[in-house]
């Protein structure tokens, strides 16, 4: 029997990362403050999770400006979308199989 846990992606094993990926799946781009408000987490905590996801190629960072104010937005990469979808499917499979 296939190990049911093997398809879960350990990169998404955190509520903050789940929140980031969820938001990026349904919005083309989300900025830092929106993510912070959505997940209700500190600046530093959010930044470190973002960095980890970015280093793994799951999200892309766009640093820009609105006038003079800095505005950083994030989007999911194709690899990130694919990995997250697989993770969701694995979760569903796990729930179904242990019924």
């Amino acid at each position: 029997m296939k190990n049911p846990i093997e398809n879960l992606n350990k990169y998404f094993d955190s509520r903050v990362r789940l929140g980031i990926m969820s938001a990026l799946m349904v919005n083309a781009e989300v900025n830092f403050n929106d993510l912070k408000e959505l997940i209700q987490v500190t600046d530093g905590n959010l930044a470190s999770h973002i960095k980890a996801l970015e280093e793994n190629g799951y999200i892309k960072v766009h640093k820009g400006f609105i006038g003079r104010k800095t505005n950083t937005t994030y989007s999911a990469t194709k690899a990130g979308e694919k990995a997250f979808k697989a993770h969701l499917e694995a979760l569903e499979a796990m729930i179904k199989s242990s019924r």
């Binding site: 509520r15 789940l18 929140g19 938001a23 349904v26 959505l38 729930i95 242990s98």
Partner: protein
């Protein structure tokens, strides 16, 4: 067994975060009830202006010269009705805003965030187009078409907005569009259709939404 619950919770969390990030979820059912009530009050006043004058306009025509062209009811009372409509609209908007603002505190969402802006823009586009259309209708004295037109445009605006807020809103949109189309066969009875479309429908819809989302706060998003 516990693992299963954990995964279910995770999926539930994910679904909720997707909703919260793309839709404005703080829309309150109480806003609908308040807006509907304002509309009914406004319709009451408008009825008070229209009915006595329906007879008076007809009498006036008879007196001036039988066979002369109808004095349009619109010409007679246009100004008062527009005032009533404007006051009703402003009152409904303010009350709706207050209830939604209060709810946004509970859902922990900023009242003027990305989702709210997106919702506003998508509501405003059909409403502004409709508003210009209705103003021109008034200018061209096609008063009978104003009620159907306003219901249809409003329904389209709500339908568009439903993608950016609570999804049940789309049923309100469908109802308004349908009512507007039906009212095209009953020109002259606009005030009744207005009372139903902007009054009754909002109260019904608002109550359903309140019942589903706000009656028992622990069941948020059920």
């Amino acid at each position: 067994m516990n693992d299963q619950n954990h995964h279910l919770d995770t999926l539930q969390d994910i679904k909720q975060m997707m909703e919260r990030s793309s839709r404005f979820i703080s829309l309150s059912g109480l806003s609908g009830i308040a807006a509907g009530s304002c509309a009914l009050v406004g319709a009451w006043f408008a009825y008070g202006v229209i009915e006595p004058n329906r007879g008076a306009a007809n009498n006036l025509r008879y007196i001036t010269a039988p066979g002369s062209p109808d004095i349009s009811i619109g010409d007679w009372m246009g100004n008062q009705l527009v005032q009533i409509a404007a006051i009703t609209f402003v009152a409904a908007f303010i009350l709706s805003f207050i209830f939604t603002y209060l709810r946004s505190k509970k859902t922990n969402t900023p009242i003027w965030g990305t989702t709210a802006k997106r919702l506003m823009i998508n509501v405003m586009i059909p409403m502004v187009a409709g508003g210009i259309y209705l103003l021109k209708l008034m200018e061209n004295q096609a008063y009978g078409l104003i009620a159907p037109g306003s219901l249809i445009f409003y329904g389209l605006a709500v339908l568009n907005a439903s993608k950016y807020t609570l999804h049940e809103t789309k049923y309100l949109g469908y109802s308004e569009i349908l009512l507007g189309i039906i009212s095209l066969w009953f020109i002259g009875y606009g005030i009744y259709f207005w009372a139903i479309g902007f009054g009754v429908f909002h109260i019904v819809y608002g109550t359903i939404m309140w019942w589903r989302y706000e009656r028992n706060p622990s069941h948020e998003g059920e």
